[in-house]
Amino acid sequence: MSIHTAHLSIRNLQKTYPKTTAPAVDDVCLDVAEGELVALLGPSGCGKTTTLRMVAGLLDPSAGEIVVNGKDVVSTPVHKRRMGMVFQSYALFPHMNIAENVSFGLQMRRLSRAEAAKKADEALDMVQLGHLRDRRPAELSGGQQQRVALARALVIEPTLLLLDEPLSNLDAKLREAMRHEIRSIQQRLGTTTLFVTHDQDEALDMADRIAILNNGRIEQYAPPSEVYDRPATRFVANFVGKANFLDVENVEKLGNDTYRVKTNEFGVLEVRGVDGLDPTRASLVVRPHRLTTTRVDESVKSSRPASIGEVIATSYTGNVQSYEVRLNESAVLRVDQLTDTLRDLRMGDRVQLTFDPAEAYLVSDE
């Protein structure tokens, strides 16, 4: 399969469904570079699938532009957009066998039967399903159907690959294997890809960049590590990974992205944060694995900010041991640490929590 890819630019895209007042997609702007895989991440109802369906041409936008390779495609009907779409339900044609399913798009493009069959076989080999070409979709497992759907979408050499929650119907083990398979095929072919998911792990694992949507708006659009380490808003920090939020007061701007803040629990700190946030509506994010615990009886004077509390809950997930530590009436922090029998804490233990302020991040509360 040849590389046939595109640059996608979504400009001020908006969709308001009939008989609703709040737009489902509200002024979304998104630039996707050639060969990039971008995840649209958000809770259900955030507008991610609506956005994808508008790009695919399955839904008409209320306003805005969808520019593919410099051309606005909003008025182009779906069957002329040449976008490969993988549906959540896979949407394989039940009355056709696997080979017919994969070659359907090629036949629609008026390739000769022989040529279509040859390309379909190549695509099936790519997803390692060549031996099942004569089966019906119903005879395949969920993971195999998923791969057929992927082959069917890719065989037409789409300008964009659009994936709508493609892994949500698979079990956990298979989901992880498919993540890597989809990602490696996508990288090998260099196909520009939009990927809708509500699963933050999937987005962090697969995407070059993540657009986090909430109530139809993009809250942040950045590479995974930036989304995780420097979330733009409280919503992003909460949605991607686990987060502790500390109330702050007396926020004082020191530089572009550095602030001095006062917290009840850890005193005055110098931290980094979102540029230009409203000082009266900000919270400090501390990721659970950035916190370290020491038993109070063995605690040493730390140069780092420290606070003492009581372990009120523990949970064990194999490699990670989590604690909830109550510092005062309003602050209960979650601590994740790699399992270590020597430092095993129990309910009721008094512990000192510390963290490196350089690893905390001040975010906007909206």
């Binding site: 040449r82 549906f87 979408a153």
Partner: protein, 296 residues
Amino acid sequence: MTLTQMGSRKRTTGFRSRRRWELFGLLFPGLLGIFVGFVLPVFVMFRMSLNTHGTGGQLVESVSLGAYRDALTDPFYWEVIGNTLVLGLGCGAAATVLSYPLALFLVRTTSKWKGVLIALAIAPLLTSAVARTYGWIAILGDQGVINDSLMRIGVLDAPIQLSNNLLGTTIALVEILMPYAILAMISGFGRISPSLEEAAGSLGASKLKTFVRITLPLSLPGVFTGFLLVFVLAISSFVTPRLLGGGRVFILATEVYNEATQTLNWPLASALSVILLVVFGLMIAVYQRLIAKFEG
């Protein structure tokens, strides 16, 4: 296999056989009802068809194929069988074609009136076929709405024959039976996911190609069911052919009635009924073949 496994297996077999008896017990009243109300009458009818009709009109107990010979050697009855098939196939085809878009719309609409619309589509079933047939007589008759209007505006000089024949009977039966076709297709179409059509579109199929390659083939089982239902109801219909046919439409159902109540030739009436049953049976066999082909 270890001892405990054998023990547990034995237990489950015992459990299963007890369960089988329980299931049979639960099914028994229904089976009895079917036997008494359906199997037995059909058997009695079949037995009756083997009797003979005496010259004086009396019933002669015998085992003979005389009634069948009478039915199948008389060209009149071949015409009756032909008429019956024409009526059944014609009604089936017309009702299916007319109901298809309605059923597809009713399945797909997201309107909040969907439930009301479906109820409206099948509401004609609330009126008896007799009343609806008289309605059609008023429309299709020589002085009916159609002929009267066309003659008044000068399109026709003399009325065209729309009643007292097979055409009028077919028109009325199609309307009367359409609700069944719509219901059968609605249940048949439910399993066609709209995402299949979206997938076809994204793969480059136009709306027309999507319909021909995806929607239509997947809807065929529902279409066959609707067709079969209308066919079966049409060839067994009696009221409409009798009233709208004006005694000039001869089909198996009306002839069975004539033989049974007027000529009092019960063996022949029974033989014609058995022939009608055979037509049903053949149609159901064809239907099962088609369903197996398109659903497999």
